[in-house]
């Protein structure tokens, strides 16, 4: 079947053969490989996208079920002029990407976190980002980036 999805503001259609996930369609059909395939069971958050405005693991979304939906991936968070998002900027400055495989997922989760809670505390950050596993950084640099964003946004 063909599903029609608005991805990063663009109307896209994709052939869906079976019960494959949105992640598979994004990566293999639409060639948006920024969403990562680390666990494919919703445990690591590397495939996080916004589906109709809500943060989800795209590996747990059946592609066939997305017809008519709106999806934002990491490729869609940059500014129209190509400038990186302030979340990406903060992660960059904090040195919060090493191997980088988790990074797109963290970008999406932090964007979503700050949308709902601009000034998260330590426990809030832990609770909100616990679904994103990073194996390289030990999270210290990621926490520092989020703290800086929390401090810099207006109260």
């Amino acid at each position: 079947m063909i599903v029609s999805v608005t991805v990063n503001g663009e109307q896209r259609s994709a052939s869906v053969f079976g019960s494959e996930s949105l992640l598979v369609v994004l990566r293999d059909e639409l060639r948006l490989a920024g969403s990562k395939n680390a666990c494919e069971e919703g445990e690591c958050g590397s495939c996080s996208v916004l589906l109709d405005g809500r943060l989800v693991c795209s590996c747990l979304v059946m592609a066939a079920d997305t017809d008519g939906s709106t999806v934002t991936t990491v490729e869609g968070v940059a500014g129209a002029d190509g400038s990186i998002h302030r979340v990406q900027q903060a992660l960059l400055e904090a040195g919060a990407t090493q191997c980088g495989f988790c990074t797109p997922g963290f970008v999406m989760a932090i964007v979503d976190l700050l949308e709902g809670e601009p000034h998260p505390g330590t426990a809030d950050i832990g609770e909100a980002l616990a679904g994103n596993i990073c194996r390289c950084t030990g999270y210290g640099s990621i926490v520092r980036a989020v703290r800086r964003l929390a401090d810099s946004s207006e109260r």
């Binding site: 920024g34 069971e41 990186i84 090493q98 980088g100 330590t122 950084t137």
Partner: protein, 745 residues
């Protein structure tokens, strides 16, 4: 090309982005934007997908393999078995003992039996599922003690040093176990093989050492070395999991068979079966000291389960045994290390490489000894601390470079302790968001541990790294075949070149196996010292040659100068040609040990100390790590930001081993090959880390730098367990520590 023995220099001053600064990394923006390509992201026009048929049993005899049903699946292009391997049927890092595809007998759960290639991933998987394999189940050997008794052994290492009659008045004994930890790099194994149309192939795949892969691939393909090119690809972490081959030869076989590009990407469950793990360990220790706390005698027996194939077990046995006493002086040492062959999952390299296991043993013993002596545990460690001029207790090798054991102990002890007041937010107590634990149920504990390891390869291994540095009209390029696994080597090599050349515009380019000699493996904390050493040597030579040739006295971003006079711009210098230097760098030589395990077997050493503060709920056995602080011997921090990243990340893997990370293996079968049940620490488990970088320039790393990747993982585990013991008073002799162990069930 020559072999320099020392590269320690004072960094030239004034160049932007040189050593000692926290520069950004060139791959950061692509990684943040999602455009950085990992092997699982690669794509080629007309490519096919491969899939692997694996054994569901840990041990089985294989009868007939019928691939016809797979070939009948529409879209399947080919199916291969071991008969289709044209060259050597086996591979391996140190011993070529692992079949490319199983011949007669399956020796571990998930071992590859056949390959299927089809038009897309789903087709390939359907094809793989259709292959009929007759397995006759055999009883697996899963008890490492039994394997030892049967002499199913990869290596025994016998270490005897000092007077066998020496004994101490105070004696403590202990038995310790370490479970199987997995590297769990987030990026799964993947690759793309592209046939070159002339019988050869290009491979882009997960790796830690493209030349080491190359040699094994060529042998199994039966091709000439120049027919295969292995390219460094983007790496989603490694931590040791990518030292051994898995899908590499398979991909090349399928590409050569079909004449088309072939891609494979393991799913997570397959990844757990497809790479080696950290060796589980059983360790028996006896420490003897005099009344003043001076270590007199240490005896240890260390048993590592290597699983089904050799991988790097012989070297892991070496590390676990040579560092069995830790960074302490001791006059009489008896160590028997053994790595056995079983039908458990194959084990090999993981960050810390044997030193992690024995550190848990000797640091547990040091705490026991301190208790028996009625002495402060840190004081006991200080009194025995190994330093320059001492000899390593096991091998007798003199420590002829700096080894700031006392300094790391004192530095970590001097860091302020976290607030004694427990947190108001119940989510920050043991149990986390599960809200299991009231404040009144919490006990706090503090524990210390010190760990030691070698740097680079040991025991006479011909360990080298090549690099090429070329002047360009804008600055310089560095070429290397070293694999960037995430640690930031691409940034550090550029910094070294900048400082050595005095040029600020430096680009690092990673090249395939045909373009440059080996950089060796990105492991053993070695690349900063080895590839960094090669870059420093090449850049230094290049600068000196240019100055000599042009009779100049200064090189900078503009060009060559003699005093105030510009002699030639960079473009002009380049136009004259020969502005390239290529270096093969070797570290100081090491040798094999003698029959008593004695000798100069190591090239360099590093030490670190950790202090963990934990809150424990003794009744439920739940732990929250409040903080982990550390002091680490870094030689000289070439990039303090990257060093911090290595330390924080390494500590978190140590925390994982202490509290949650373990492959559950039952009859040789992995029961938790997924991220739901192989638990990795989350951001909610991550404590703050304060650190002191102890800078005593080492004897041969560039500018005195030492490798920093592994020490954070070595003693952090032991420190956390010591802190839990301090809180609850139980012996806790096994990691990961399970809630039931803390409760005492």
């Amino acid at each position: 090309m020559t072999a320099p023995t020392t590269t320690v220099q004072r960094p030239p001053t004034g160049v932007a982005g040189g050593v000692g600064t926290t520069t950004g990394r060139p791959d950061a923006i692509p990684k943040l934007s999602g455009s950085f390509a990992y092997p699982s992201d690669l794509w080629a026009e007309g490519m096919l997908w491969g899939a692997t048929v694996r054994s569901p049993f840990a041990r089985a005899r294989i009868g007939r393999i019928d691939v016809a049903p797979a070939l009948a699946v529409p879209g399947v292009a080919a199916a291969l078995t071991q008969e289709d391997v044209p060259g050597r049927k086996t591979f391996g890092l140190e011993h070529s003992d692992q079949p490319v595809l199983v011949d007669r007998e399956v020796r571990f759960f998930g071992e590859p039996v056949a390959l299927v290639v089809g038009r897309d991933e789903e087709t390939a998987r359907r094809g793989a599922a259709a292959v009929v394999v007759e397995f006759e189940r055999l009883e697996p050997l899963t008890d490492p003690e039994e394997a030892d008794r049967r002499d199913e052994v990869f290596r025994r290492l016998r270490i005897r040093r000092g007077d066998p009659g020496l004994h101490g008045e105070v004696v403590v004994e202990g038995y310790y176990e370490v479970g199987i930890q997995d590297q769990a790099p987030l990026g799964p194994e993947a690759g793309l093989a592209v046939p070159d149309g002339n019988g050869g192939v290009d491979l882009h795949a997960t790796s830690q050492a493209v030349h080491v892969d190359h040699a094994q691939i060529v042998a199994s393909l039966g091709l000439a070395p120049d027919q295969v090119r292995v390219h460094p690809a983007g790496m989603g972490g490694a931590f040791g999991a990518r030292e051994d081959l898995n899908l590499h030869i398979h991909l090349c076989l399928l590409a050569l068979r079909t004449g088309k590009p072939v891609k494979m990407a393991y799913r997570r469950a397959e990844s757990f079966a497809g790479h080696v793990h950290r060796h589980p360990a059983r360790m028996w220790y006896r420490h003897e000291a005099d009344r003043t706390g001076r270590l007199v005698r240490v005896e240890a027996r260390i048993l590592l389960d290597g699983g089904a194939y050799a991988s790097s077990t012989t070297a892991v046995v070496a590390n676990a045994s040579y560092f069995a006493v830790g960074p302490y002086r001791c006059d009489a040492v008896v160590v028997d290390g053994v790595g056995v062959r079983t039908n458990n999952p194959p084990c090999g390299a993981m960050r810390g490489f044997g030193a992690v296991q024995s550190c848990f043993g000797y640091e547990s013993q040091m705490d026991r000894l301190a208790a028996a002596l009625g002495m402060d545990p840190l004081e006991l460690r200080r009194r025995n601390a190994l330093g320059r001029g001492d000899v390593l207790a096991t091998t007798g090798q003199e420590i002829d470079g700096p080894l700031p054991t006392i300094e790391v102990i004192d530095s970590v002890a001097s860091l302020p302790l976290p607030d004694a007041r427990l947190d108001d937010d119940p989510r920050l107590l043991p149990g986390g968001v599960g809200l299991t634990t009231p404040l009144s149920a919490v006990k706090r504990g503090v524990g210390y541990a010190v760990g030691m390891k070698n740097l680079a390869f040991s025991e006479g291994f011909d360990d080298f790294a090549e690099a090429r540095v070329a002047l360009t009209p804008r600055g310089a390029t560095v070429e290397t075949a070293a694999v960037e696994v995430g640690q930031g080597l691409v940034a550090v090599l550029a910094q070294i070149a900048r400082s050595a050349l005095g040029l600020s515009e430096v680009t690092v380019r990673t090249v395939d196996t045909s373009r440059l000699g080996s950089a060796g493996s990105t492991s053993a904390s070695r690349q900063t010292q080895m590839s960094g050493g090669a870059v420093l040597e090449a850049a230094t030579r290049l600068r000196q040659r240019l100055l000599d040739d042009w009779e100049a006295d200064q090189l900078d971003d503009v060009g060559l100068w003699r005093g105030e006079q510009l002699i030639a711009g960079l473009d002009e210098v380049c136009a004259r040609g020969d502005s390239v230097e290529e270096v093969r760098f070797r570290h100081p030589p090491t040798s094999l040990p003698d029959d008593d395990g004695q000798g100069r077997v190591h090239a360099d050493f590093v030490v670190a100390a950790h202090r963990a503060v934990v809150d424990v709920d003794p009744e439920l056995g739940l732990v929250r790590v409040v903080s982990i602080d550390t002091a680490q011997d870094v030689g000289l921090a070439l990039n303090p930001g990257l060093v911090r990243g290595q330390i924080e990340g390494g500590i978190m893997q140590g925390l994982g081993l202490a509290l949650m990370e373990e492959l559950v293996v039952d009859d040789g079968v992995i029961r938790n090959a997924n991220f739901t049940d192989y638990l990795l620490p989350t951001i909610a488990d991550a404590p703050p880390v304060e650190m002191v970088l102890v800078e005593q320039p080492g004897s041969w790393g560039p500018f005195g730098a030492k490798g920093v990747g592994e020490p954070p993982t070595i003693s952090s585990t032991a420190a956390i367990v010591a802190a839990i013991r301090d809180a609850v008073g139980r012996p806790l002799t096994r990691v990961p520590v399970r809630p039931a162990d803390i409760v005492g069930l």
